[in-house]
Amino acid sequence: MIQGKSFSRRVFRAVNGVILTALVLSCLLPLWYTLCISLSGKSAVAGGMVSLWPVDVTLSSYEAIIKDAGFIRSAGISFCRVVLGTAFSLTVIVLMAYPLSKSKREFPWRDAFMWILIFCFLFNGGLVPWYITMKNYGMINTMQGLVLAGGVPVFNVILVMNFFRNIPKSLEEAAIMDGAGPWMILLRLILPISKPVVATVSLFTIVNYWNEFFQGLVLATTERMYPLQTYIQQMVVTLNMTNMTLEQYQKVSKLSNQGLNAAKIFVALLPVLAIYPFLQKYFITGITLGAVKE
């Protein structure tokens, strides 16, 4: 391109490069900082001496993680939850999205269902009634609780629905002519060409289940059932240690090992970072076609 060689173009490119590099750095430094903390000695961290390079470098935090049965167990629970939850959530999302992708003419009750969905998305009874209900269903301290309570993210349903809407009608009409029923069409025709959106929604679901901590906290009555994020959250939250008795203080004092916490955060981040590039090739198509309906 001729314009690409002009002077102003080159200046623009340089400036652009600087801006983008700065943005990249702003995203990298916090992670790097966490890594530095996790590799530094305890006193140095507590004294606020660590900035962008580890002080008193030690691997003790990571060694401690390997020996920490609680961490490993929580990671296992999270892993299980992600696998089961994604399977459950994806099935429900696809099954809901397909009928809802029909026009009002094709499926007259479609709008009614859609509005119910939106209503449920926005209204809730609050934490305590929800907790009592979960308890009555026997969802406390169980894997099905962790999986089912996560539920049906409305945003994902809409995404898949819009993707389905973009599939040329002619394909489906041809199938109907051949006598295929809705189940057949969904399974044999729609799903195989919807890989991008399924991959995208899988990614969202995996990340959601992996990162969710609040339900894990409420639904477990013992730390043995905490998913990883809950486990980390309750170690990392800053305790108000200023107003307590000696008794209370002695119980929490062992928790405040920032280096170890940073190491745990770092380890917990890795799976998500690892999975993203893997699904990325579908991601862009999935999200575009899901979001934009022409």
């Binding site: 990298l28 966490t34 099935t91 809901m96 609050g126 539920g151 990392v236 990325q280």
Partner: protein, 299 residues
């Protein structure tokens, strides 16, 4: 014959919807009975339905409390600012990134910039606190320009900005994905034709790229309307402190504190209900707006 087919198809659709809507009934609609709490003076010993009914008393008290008005305002201010900047900044970023011809650098930038999206606010809160602390790097940089160190997390003025911009920072790379995808979706032939006509990159951006992703922009803005009362519980909860409650407290954190910390459960439910009602109204409005003016059905 035709209607037979139709009925068969409808019943299949109902079957498909069954799983999801069963879930909704059990996990969402059943717990919704708790909304009744907003109209009682809730006493846990008596349970929700035996607690004394007080009508609209909780709502009246809510409007008497200067607190709630302030919290509503804070929520609106923070959420609306977030919505706006989360639309604009990622768009600019996507446009800038689109100008990079070096494929590897482009992918690298994109891959790194969505990383913060996956960091939880618990973690980021700790990091931000130290970066913006009195003797942290930001104040060190201010010092280079001869400025007094400034307490970002203690200033009622700075705190909402900090909330807004840290959120924009966290999400810009991720939000840009949709824009970038839309930009990539534009017919390359248009650019080539424009280049032949002598249009520079600026003109191409203005006349081809932006119109090409107009629908995406409209869609994202309209969808964002529903978030106007969602200022981000996780974020504010982990970053705020009592000295910035006056500008930093939002509906969700207030409801959490009132309900679970201060045992004002009925009041908290009333405020939560009000939030739901307003959000529902907003989403309905955005639905009709999009339909009427853009002839576009969101859902």
């Amino acid at each position: 014959m035709r209607s037979m087919h139709k009925r068969k198809r409808y019943s299949a659709y109902f079957c498909m919807l069954l799983s999801g809507f069963l879930w909704l009934v059990f996990f969402n609609i059943v717990p919704m009975f708790g909304i009744y709490m907003a109209f009682t003076n809730f006493n846990p010993g008596l349970g929700i339905f035996r607690s004394p009914f007080v009508g609209l008393e909780n709502f009246e008290y809510m409007f008497v409390l200067g607190d709630v008005k302030q919290v509503f305002f804070n929520t609106l201010y923070i959420a609306v600012s977030k919505v706006l900047w989360n639309l604009i900044i990622p768009l600019l970023f996507a446009l800038l990134l689109n100008e990079v011809s070096h494929g590897f650098f482009k992918r690298l930038v994109q891959t790194i910039c969505y990383m913060p999206h996956f960091l939880s606010w618990v973690i980021l809160a700790g990091i931000l606190a130290s970066i913006f602390s009195y003797d942290g790097p930001i104040n060190a940089i201010r010092g280079l320009f001869g400025l007094e160190p400034f307490l970002f997390f203690g200033s009622t003025k700075a705190f909402p900005q900090l909330i807004i911009w840290s959120d924009v920072w966290k999400e810009f790379g991720y939000n840009a994905v949709i824009y970038l995808a839309a930009v990539t979706g534009i017919d390359q032939g248009l650019y080539e034709a424009a280049a032949i006509d002598g249009a520079g990159r600026w003109k191409q951006t203005w006349h081809i790229t932006l119109p090409g992703i107009r629908t995406t922009i409209v869609l994202l803005s309209v969808l964002a309307l529903g978030n106007v009362l969602n200022a981000g519980f996780d974020q504010v909860f982990n970053l705020y402190n009592p000295s910035v409650y006056s500008t930093g407290d939002i509906l969700d954190t207030w409801v959490y504190r009132a309900g679970l910390r201060n045992f004002q459960y009925s009041l908290a439910t009333a405020v939560g209900l009000l939030k739901s009602v307003v959000s529902f109204a907003l989403i309905t409005v955005s639905y009709w707006l999009a339909k009427k003016f853009a002839n576009y059905t969101i859902f």
